[in-house]
Amino acid sequence: MNNVFVYCEVTEERLIADVSLELVSKGRKLADELGVKLEAIVCGDGIKDIEAILYPYGVDIINYAKDSRLFPYQTLPHFSIVTKLFQEKKPEIALFGATSVGRDLAPRIASYLRTGLTADCTTLEIGNHTENKTGKEYKNLLYQIRPAFGGNIIATIINPDCRPQMATVREGVMKKEILSGNHKGILNFLKVEDYTKNDDFCLKIIERHIEEQKINIKGAQIIVCGGYGMGSKENFKLVHELADVIQGEVGGTRAASDAGMTEHERQIGQTGVTVRPKLYIACGVSGAVQHRVGMQDSSKIISINTDPNAPINKIADYTIIGDVLEVLPKMIKYYKSNTK
């Protein structure tokens, strides 16, 4: 069986992006289960300590296309390099971050290689499969598991016949885990001229403004999350007020951000950010599965909801059955008058 590959994104600071390190950690486990090697692909230039960063996560081979024209990211040159490498090495599995880069690149590669790609997976596992009609057996497939369309449904997607088995995963879904400080691999430089054509550089980047992430809910220890049940943008201010007072961050559900109550950057769930805070206060959040997969590992969950049957209540440690507009001010008031 062939190797597991992870496409590693490069940040503005010329480091390997967190989402890629998370995927490399997951990729190591998948590779171990399959008894194969883990390879990383990096396209860029001036990346600091590339070996020192990647080897401890268990990377066996770094395929490094080093060229100043490869940063910032552009679709076509990265596409050409990765597809050519995949044609040579025929990976069993290829993982990409579900970011603006990964979601731009992976589909184009899957299309060229005529293979399957599953977006926004929340779990990746190795498993077997028997085809119902033919009785054909498949060993060690990648189960690409994601909440699917509609209510409380989790779908397991497989790609039995085409390779690589490709998937994208959002940042924060997998855990970053160092394998060993002593793990060593090899660095394989790719000759960029051999992997790209001149036409690949046809797009001109006129200007870029990339800012430090202003909203950082991923690392927050306390999160107050507002759902559609907050009712309005005006009411949503209460979520901010409580978060400010207890020094937490504000999160939102997809319904709340789609309704314009809060920024999309604050969205928690399958198509947003995955969080694991010490305390999660869900205000007017019903708790669809797409939301729960992004917060169910929080240490303590408090749900405030008028509906006693809201799904979120089932995973909450405390459920306050009541109106957020009544409860939140009381929490704010108590905290203000009982702490320094």
Binding site: L203, I205, L279, V289, S299, M331
Partner: protein, 290 residues
């Protein structure tokens, strides 16, 4: 030479109103059970196309939609807002397509339309949220792609500059034609229907729609050809059957599980002062807060 813009639009089940029978046993979506709407980001794409049409003389907009015959509604709705014409790609063979098979079908339809300057689509559809069909279609058309477009910075007959919305910022890129653009929901909202176009295209229909209504349009179509919404089958777009629908889809749904939540040991509280105060007190004393 006119400037040719193709807009890819999809009629989607309104995922905000999902019932219990939303999924079929084979794990695909039961579209019949759901209200159908114009995919929101495809409306942003249509607006971007209309904006470009406003700025380039002799530009035309053709809508391509894939789906059941009722998807002709999408073409008509686009015409009311300023699109020139449109086609519905409809065939039982395309049912159950994953994104790879979908992009193949759409690319075949685009190729049938001949030379184009721009293909513009919404970034993603709300029934799948994959954002894969745009880039996959671009690959099949062998043209550059600009994803996450938010605004047209500059456009003329030779090139276009697009502002892209990324996670932590923006980027302006320039491309020549042909090129495929996918449009982000933060782009300008689509203009509303125009009374003049509404009058002009009110009677636009596809063949299947006419059959259902028991009407014959042949005379009318002769006189006003713009009232015909074309319908193309897999054969019309020269598609290979092995690349369509479930057969042409490498990804398979292995299983669908309903998530059963096991009730945690949850304390149920009332909104009364005592309950809230006790809870806050406990959180503070256990150092979760403060």
């Amino acid at each position: 030479m006119s400037f040719k813009i193709i807009v890819l639009a999809k009629q989607v089940p309104d995922t905000r109103n999902i019932g219990k029978d939303a999924m079929k046993e084979d794990g695909t979506v039961n579209r019949a059970a759901l209200p159908a709407i114009f995919n929101p980001e495809d409306l942003n794409a249509l607006e971007m196309a209309l904006h470009i049409k406003d700025n380039i003389k002799d530009a035309t907009i053709t809508i391509i939609t894939m789906g059941p015959s009722r998807a002709a509604e999408i073409v008509r709705e686009s015409m009311y807002r300023g699109a020139d014409n449109g086609v519905v790609v409809s065939d039982r063979k395309v049912a159950g397509s994953d994104t790879l098979a979908t992009s193949y079908t759409i690319a075949q339809a685009v190729k049938k339309l001949g030379k184009f300057d721009l293909v513009i689509a919404g970034r993603q559809a709300i029934d799948g949220d994959t954002a894969q069909v745009g880039p996959q279609t671009a690959e099949k058309l062998e043209c550059p792609q600009i994803t996450y477009a938010e605004e047209v910075v500059m456009v003329n007959e030779n090139k276009i500059q697009i502002k892209r919305r990324l996670e932590n910022g923006v980027e302006v890129v320039e491309s020549k034609y042909p090129c495929l653009i996918t449009v982000h929901g933060s782009a300008k909202e689509c203009r509303s229907r125009n009374a003049k176009f509404l009058m002009k295209f009110k009677k636009a229909k596809s063949n299947s729609e006419l059959q259902e209504l028991g009407q014959d349009y042949s005379a009318l179509w002769n006189e006003k050809p713009y009232l015909k919404i074309d319908e193309w089958s897999a054969a019309d777009i020269m598609a290979e059957d092995s690349r369509l629908g479930l057969t042409g889809s490498p990804t398979k749904v292995k299983k669908i599980e309903n998530v059963v939540l096991t009730q945690k040991e949850s304390k149920v509280l009332t909104p009364k002062d005592e309950d809230i105060n006790d809870l806050m007190k406990e959180l503070i004393s256990s150092h979760i807060l403060g």
